[in-house]
């Protein structure tokens, strides 16, 4: 009778599927559906990330979901997330509160090296929840203001109840060193600001030098389609227009295949793409 071969169970500390534990240290409901939180890692190890990267958020027993990092890029002991309740994991995490712990894996994605556009004029166009990842770029620019030329920020939401990061919006409006414009698709009785889709703000941007301008357009695909037309209409170069193309991301490691756009794994070669690449990808938008 052949010997039974023993099943060996080994603990693999470096399994890329093992999340790090993170505690919620601050949380706020921005809207009925969107929750902002600041998290700190329990193991005391820092995390280093770039603008545009994301993490996989774990709620054990429910699953994992990819969430864009919305805080200032760099190296630190934590990060901020803005999470819309859209599925199982994101709905379940909204029951969590300060002191609760979740799992985080990452950072994943290519992110964007802001140093590469030092000296450029920056145009940020954020639609809806796109403001969350876009904020990471905006904070990097505003915190290193001297590194860049002019900074213009456009933000569009569906209605006043949907506005995210209100404290930041107020702060950006107050600043003298950037242009901030806000619009909602549809106002309410108390709304006194702009109404209309975000493309209506483009003609109000102070005169820019199209050759020297880099635009970041982050929002729902339909918004990106029209916003990029405006940007091209302003004579911006195709490869100076960036977007965040998101797909269903699961492993974050370029293996599970869900995030593929043709031959590109968004979790590794994206989610930040320039428009010239998007056109070449064909199935990008």
């Amino acid at each position: 009778m052949p010997k039974q071969v023993a099943r060996r169970k080994r603990k693999l500390p470096d399994s890329p599927y093992l999340p790090r534990s993170a505690k919620i240290v601050e949380a706020e409901m921005f809207t009925d559906l969107e929750m902002w939180m600041r998290l700190e890692f329990e193991d005391g190890e820092p995390i280093e990330y770039r603008a545009g990267q994301f993490v996989e958020l774990s709620v054990y027993g429910v699953g994992e979901a990819p969430i864009s990092i919305c805080s200032l890029p760099g190296k630190g002991d934590g990060l901020e997330l803005c999470i819309r309740a859209a599925g199982d994991v994101t709905s379940s995490v909204q029951n969590f509160t300060v002191g609760d712990k979740v799992g985080l894996r990452g950072p994943f994605g290519n992110g964007f090296d802001m140093d590469s556009i030092a000296g450029k004029d920056l145009l940020f166009v954020a639609g809806g929840l796109g403001l969350a990842p876009c904020r990471s770029f905006i904070l990097e620019a505003l915190n290193n203001r001297d590194k860049y030329g002019s900074v213009s920020i456009l933000y569009g939401a569906r209605n006043p109840d949907n506005l995210l990061f209100r404290k930041d919006l107020d702060a950006w409006r107050e600043r003298q060193d950037c242009t901030f414009m806000l619009t909602v698709d549809r106002g309410d009785e108390t709304w006194t600001g702009n109404t209309g889709v975000i493309t209506t703000l483009f003609r109000r941007i102070p005169k820019i030098d199209p050759v020297n301008t880099v635009a970041f357009i982050i929002g729902p695909p339909i918004m990106f389609k029209f916003a990029v037309l405006e940007a091209l209409g302003m004579k911006l170069r195709k490869d100076n227009i960036y977007c965040s193309l998101e797909r269903r991301m699961k492993c974050g490691l370029g293996k599970c295949g869900h995030c593929q756009i043709r031959n590109v794994y968004v979790c590794q070669e994206g989610p930040i793409f320039n428009y010239a690449e998007v056109v070449r990808l064909r199935e990008g938008i």
Partner: protein
């Protein structure tokens, strides 16, 4: 029944060079060889499953007689041992981070009787899973696996096109041992040191002699004559042809028949996409996070929370699969995305054939100028 000494230990009288030279094992002694394998590995070999074949575990010496080395092709490819259909990644004991463990089972498996095209497919998945960052679960299984290939000398059915894909012979370094059926015995070629050692230590594996080499050469000559090409073009042009066919109507035409059932990806030896899901236990607290095979052909593959589907059209999904097999996997890993085994075509509910699809691409012209 002769005893097989697989105890190891060097015989100083044997020249080191002999270790790489081929050996033979007579068919009546093959069971002894397999039984020796069973003392160190879980042996998976082809057995009959109704009118078809499957790789199953040989659990006891009595089951050795069930092994069908004359099988034509299995339903599922050998990837099921290296990347199981369900694989536990983590276990957790509650909602919190305490008690979360990454667990890997590394039971050594001997895969016996793997045809050359399946060896090529294993090499593809090896490359894909070891690309940065490497997958430790796959690596654990792959590094403890013992692979014994088995030669083939003819197509098994009309769906196969291994000659076109260059998979009638095994890949370099893609096996530990490689067997060729010479009628009353197997010719055994050495692939790795691990393979050589097992063969050298095995009393029923004798060094090959002139007649063995001659018979092997005759086998190779007959094999070459049987494996005629079935595509009208050299497959080195396949990535280009695919790129040109992106807007072709061929995809809609084929998709009309497709059910998006995912059978093709299920039986494909180079498919490795998976989903990761948490499975809570009945206590509502503990559970596992497991990965399981998934398919880009299923409607929900590219759906995100909120409902947007980034590949909602069946034709788009089908085109994506063909592009993966003929172009993308090759570009990303340097290894073949399709090995011409024909399983997808053989099992497709709608009888969609990879070979026919690739043949039709040669007839397609994107530019419609005369």
């Amino acid at each position: 029944m002769e005893n097989c000494y697989c105890a190891g230990g060097d015989d100083p009288a044997v020249d080191k060079e002999d270790e790489v030279l081929p050996r033979t094992v007579r068919k009546e002694h093959f069971g002894t060889f397999v039984e020796a394998l069973m003392t160190a590995y879980q042996v998976m070999a082809p057995v009959s499953k109704g009118p078809q074949f499957a790789f199953e575990q040989i659990e006891s010496p009595e089951d050795v007689g069930k092994i069908r080395m004359d099988y034509d092709i299995t339903i599922l490819p050998p990837k099921k041992f290296l990347m199981p259909q369900y694989e536990e990644l983590l276990s957790f004991s509650g909602r919190g981070p305490e008690g979360v463990e990454a667990a890997v089972s590394a039971t050594p498996v001997a895969m016996l009787g793997i045809h050359p095209y399946d060896l090529h497919a294993i090499a593809t998945i090896d490359m894909a899973m070891c690309q940065s960052p490497p997958d430790p679960y796959y690596q654990a299984r792959r590094s403890t696996a013992f692979v014994i290939g088995l030669n083939i000398d003819n197509y098994a059915n009309e769906h196969q096109f291994m000659a076109d894909m260059g998979t009638i012979d095994p890949p370099e370094g893609g096996f530990d041992l490689f067997l060729t059926d010479l009628g009353d015995r197997y010719y055994m070629e050495m692939g790795t040191e691990l393979g050589s050692k097992r063969a050298k230590d095995c009393r029923v594996c004798a060094p090959a002699v002139a007649k063995d080499h001659a018979d092997k050469q005759a086998y190779d000559a007959a094999k070459l004559a049987n494996f005629t090409k079935r595509l009208p073009y050299n497959t080195r042009y396949l990535p280009e042809l695919l790129e040109e066919s992106y807007d072709s109507l061929i995809w809609d035409a084929i998709a009309k028949r497709c059910f998006s059932c995912g059978t093709c990806t299920n039986v494909c030896p180079t498919c490795y996409c998976f989903d990761v899901q948490d499975k809570p236990n009945l206590d509502g607290k503990s559970g596992v996070r497991q990965r399981q095979w998934d398919s880009c052909q299923l409607d929900g593959f590219a759906v995100v929370a909120g409902g947007e589907n980034f590949r909602a059209q069946r034709a788009g999904r089908l085109r994506h699969r063909i592009f993966r097999k003929g172009k993308f996997i090759l570009e990303r890993t340097g290894k073949l995305g399709c090995v011409g085994c024909g399983r997808c075509s053989q099992h497709c509910v709608a009888k969609i054939s990879m070979l026919e699809t690739l043949q039709q691409m040669a007839d397609q012209s994107v530019t419609l100028d005369a």
